[in-house]
Symmetry: C2
Subunit: 226 residues, 2 copies
């Protein structure tokens, strides 16, 4: 059973109206070109589940987790968002997950209505919004597949995923705690920890520090990736 990480519950503030340049025309960069930059300290809330989804976000620096809490306190982390990632885009009225900064983070805050209005006139923007939601769908499908695997497979998949996303080379600096990893993988911290030490003794990885992981044998990890 996973435990809930306490949050400082720094509630969301309207972004100051210091806007960045508006889009000249369109295409694969439109979304990134509008919005306001905001900073969120470590463990602060960016938005809560079921709150109106008036904004979407793009990570500039830091890391963000989105999650849900079940009635009995179990927490499931839906995603880790790294610099460049967009999160908080909904088709419905409210956010389906909560979002918190894992480390001090800077995010671009973009008004959804602006984007939707733009999409009504510009096909490329409409297409982009659809594509973003489609990519998110694909990601959640993969995550769902993770949750039916063994602990070893989940941890190996997680390491490979993070290596693809954050690392240049074989070393990997994780921004998140063991508890975050556990809640992402549907395991306990003890199982995550034990699995990592086992991978270490199997020479698949090295653990110079708890947050730094070196992938020594990717093919071994890939084999576990099922």
């Amino acid at each position: 059973m996973q435990t809930q990480t306490a949050t400082h519950s720094v509630s969301f503030k309207q972004p100051a109206s210091r806007n960045l340049p508006l889009p000249g025309s369109h295409a694969l960069g439109t979304i990134e070109l509008m919005g306001t930059s905001m900073s969120f300290p470590r463990n602060s809330e960016i938005y809560g589940e079921n709150e109106p989804a008036d904004y979407l976000y793009k990570v500039i620096s830091g890391t963000v987790r989105t999650y849900k809490i079940l009635a009995d306190g179990r927490r499931q982390i839906g995603a880790f968002h790294l610099p460049g990632d967009i999160f908080g885009l909904e088709t419905g009225d409210n956010h389906t997950f909560s979002a918190e900064a894992i480390a001090d983070s800077k995010v671009l805050v973009i008004k959804r209505s602006t984007l939707v209005a733009l999409a009504a006139r510009d096909n490329d923007v409409a297409r982009q919004l659809w594509t973003l939601t489609g990519r998110e769908l694909h990601r959640v499908q993969d995550h769902m597949m993770l949750l039916i695997k063994t602990a070893q497979e989940r941890v190996a998949s997680f390491l490979l995923e993070m290596a693809d996303r954050v690392s240049a080379g074989p070393a990997l600096d994780l921004p998140m705690s063991r508890q975050d990893i556990a809640d992402y993988l549907g395991l306990t911290i003890e199982t995550v920890s034990r699995t990592l030490t086992q991978l270490e003794s199997d020479a698949a990885i090295a653990l110079p520090t708890s947050r730094r992981i070196v992938l020594r044998n990717r093919s071994a990890l890939n084999r576990l990736n099922a």
Copy 2:
């Protein structure tokens, strides 16, 4: 560990060009108004994972399962699609799941390129496509949350979900086998069976036949729904 159900592998045929009326204008009914009706016998394949996603589908009658098979043969069912449901819509080039008819089924087959072309001209259609993908995202998120729950909670959630979707009144006629349910819930058939008999002895449900389930005590099931 789940086992794979053998399929007859009736491969997908191009739909005959007997088209239904094309859309006069637009809106919440557009997608339903175009396409060709096709029949698929029980256990036949509608499309396979990674095949080009040139078509999307709407169930007219019967039931369809979408699923993935892991390397070691484990099968995860992503969804059960009932009459009225649209499935097989992708934002990428290929299908991310396979689809099979669970019972003899009739489905409307709709060419994606037609719809995408239409979306480029008609905002409402574009909006609809986005909304459909968004709904699917929401469904998969819920399904993911299922997979971290206990067996009792998963089975209870499943029964309530199906009751909402297929039943008028407290009786519920399941179109799918225990193996399908197990692969949807990430459990074994034995655990599904045992959990159902336990719910029966707790007077939460009755099992007149194995495919027919009567919800006797919804609030008890809701309590398990976590």
